[in-house]
Amino acid sequence: MLYHHHTKPISPKRVVILGASGFVSTALGRHLKAAGMEYRSVASSEVDLTQPESVAQLGAIFCEGDAIVMTSGLTPDKGRDVGTLMKNLSMAQHVGAALEQSLCSHLVYISSDAVYDGRESLIRENSIRQPSDLYSLMHIAREQILSFTSAKAKTPLCIFCPCAIYGAGDTHNSYGPNRFFRMASKDSKITLFGEGRETRDHVYIEDVARLLVQCLMYRSAGTINAASGEAVTFHDVATRIAGLIGPSIAVEFLPPGGAVTHRQFDVTERVRAFPDFNPTSLDEGLLETLTKVRNP
């Protein structure tokens, strides 16, 4: 359940984004700027959240009434080992400690849909959280750490769980639309495991940023999944991308990587929380992505 502390949208005094160069943090900064909202990004080069001294450094940055958005984290491409897990947990520990010493008005934690047990046919905010690897364990543990500290600090916490994000500016190369764009432009073909029959929900980065702005404006607390509600197969995504780029792009198949699994989201909670929020259709989002990639 998401609970709004404001019945009408009100801009926070200032938004502090922890993480300055990531996919989500840059998109959020762009949207905050467009909305005329004051914000400040904190890069890892300025404050290394893995280090204990970051508590005091954040304490010096945080001001009364600030809304904090924590996007920082070492993603799986930086390491999937126990050391990475512990560094990620240290970050949450230090952010939580800084929060306890400040008078921030809101904390938004960017988690991941990896926290959910994928066996449910529809994932929703109260679905079972079940770690499948150290990365998902990290997010579950960070959610718990920040829930504990935000409760202690009496600061409303919004846990924001995006599903697979796509769009221009993605710094990762995970299997899905962004990798398909890269494959198409580099090799003139998109290669899918099996026949690409797995169904996934892909959310557009601009929608993620818009939804985050809504959560900040309403000072929302609780958990919300950022998903489009429109799940399609990887084959469908690949075909659409090939269609956008041109007839020279082939869609090819590799042997299946395992059992065909599906991952769909029940977006009722988002609809209830933000009834006027209208996600971008996959076709529109892919077209915009291509346009931005071609004209950065």
Binding site: R124, G229, V267, T268, V271, R272, P275, D276, N278
Partner: protein, 425 residues
């Protein structure tokens, strides 16, 4: 002929229905309630509940019905039913304290040879301790299962399928007057131990929930794959293992309060006794999800398409033929859409104790439709079928008609120029 007085204590929906049915079977009835005002209203034939056929049945048998808040008169009654409806909280947990208070209030006035029957919706394990505690001064205590259904309660009270009676000693038979009362309804009587009867009521409701949940799960799949549940349900009704009267109509989850209460009770019992009851949570989840069918649809085809939305809202009660709004999907949806203007109409619900943001009530169904972007039919009242759909369409700005239960004629809606949506197809 001696016609002894039968007492009904607690005059909410349950007590009033059974009291009236008892009078209709020729017995003299005394209704007791702590509220003097309620008793006075009933003495003047002003009924606090809405139930088809009840005012007529009440009127026809008025000479055998008396109501009082004077509990000392209970000593004149050798058969006493305690029939207060047990309220539930927002989590569907039973609040037994009003019933216990009523039992305590009545117990001191009961004749020593009185037979007491508890009709209220009590959890398993309630009656036996009560019979040894508060009611230890009376001869026999029974628990009788009630299976009234809002909207058809008169029919079910007058012509029950069977009576399930929990007994302190199932082999001992019934006291004469209670036996005569049971016989008057001409249905099979199943005596059993108290705990079995208490659980039997819940068993009935859980089987209903399983049908409702299965229907809703499959109806949603129908919507996705181009099947029509309306074509499938008749095939199921012809299957003897499922049955002609099975709950096979797609709906917006479980509502009304009673089924939810029993789900909650079984969860509590399972937790207390360490039994597996994961399916209960699954049913609850399924119900909540299904309840929001119209919300998701409205968002997809109306709210996300137009900034200026005005919704015509037919039906507020949790189902037709009742004024009850307990766990009503209609009100849940209206609350979820607090930001949007809604103009509602319900044949029975004319006001709401707790207001809903941006929900206005209109005098007629047509009034509710003026300048509406979309019409949602959230309670399947039969009278909606008689409304001129072309007139409705002319009054509206938009052409969206969401009729989850399919109360309107789909072809007529399309002919009137509507985009028509219903559950299960």
């Amino acid at each position: 002929m001696y016609n002894p007085m039968i007492a009904f204590v607690g005059l909410s929906h349950l007590g009033l229905l059974y009291a009236t049915a008892t009078a209709a079977k020729g017995f003299k009835v005394a209704g007791f309630d702590s509220s003097e005002a309620l008793c006075e209203e009933l003495c003047n034939a002003r009924l606090p509940v809405s139930e088809p056929g009840l005012p007529e049945l009440f009127e026809r048998n008025r000479e055998r019905l008396d109501f009082t808040a004077d509990f000392s008169q209970l000593k004149e009654c050798s058969l006493v039913f305690f029939a207060l409806d047990v309220p539930t909280d927002s989590e569907s947990r039973s609040d037994l304290s009003p019933l216990v208070a009523l039992l305590e209030q009545g117990a001191g006035h009961l004749a020593p040879n009185a037979t007491v029957v508890i009709l209220s919706q009590v959890p398993p394990g309630f009656t036996r301790p009560i019979s040894k505690g508060v009611l230890s001064g009376v001869r026999t205590v029974f628990y009788q299962v009630e299976t009234l259904v809002f909207g058809s309660a008169v029919e079910r009270a007058m012509n029950p399928e069977r009576y399930i009676v929990g007994c302190q000693d199932p082999a001992a038979g019934f006291p004469a007057l209670y036996g005569k009362w049971l016989e008057a309804f001409g249905c099979p009587v199943l005596p059993m131990r108290l705990e079995s009867a208490e659980l039997a009521k819940i068993a009935i409701n859980l089987f209903l929930v399983s049908s409702v949940s299965t229907t809703n799960t499959l109806a949603e799949i129908c919507e996705q794959i181009g099947a029509d549940w309306g074509e499938i349900a008749p095939a199921l009704r012809l299957d003897r293992r499922i049955g002609a009267h099975a709950y096979l109509s797609p709906g917006l989850g479980i509502a009304g309060g009673n089924l939810e209460r029993d789900l909650c009770t079984v969860q509590q019992l399972a937790a207390q006794h360490g039994t597996e009851a994961g399916i209960i949570s699954a049913w609850q989840l399924n119900s909540r999800y299904r309840r929001d069918w119209a919300l998701r649809l409205l968002h997809r085809i109306v709210l996300s398409q137009s900034p200026d939305v005005r919704l015509a809202w037919w039906g507020l009660a949790y189902k037709q033929d009742t004024h009850s709004i307990k766990n009503s999907p209609s009100l849940a949806l209206a609350e979820a859409l607090g930001a949007y203007l809604k103009v509602g109409y319900d044949p029975q619900v004319k006001s709401l104790k707790k207001g809903v943001r941006n929900l206005e009530l209109a005098a007629t169904a047509l009034d509710a439709c003026c300048d509406a972007t979309a019409l949602v039919v959230m309670t399947p009242w039969r009278e909606f079928r008689d409304i001129d759909l072309r007139r409705v369409r002319d009054l509206m700005r938009g052409n969206i008609l969401i009729d989850p239960y399919g109360v309107l004629d789909a072809e007529a809606c399309l002919a009137a120029g509507f985009r028509y949506f219903k559950l299960g197809s």
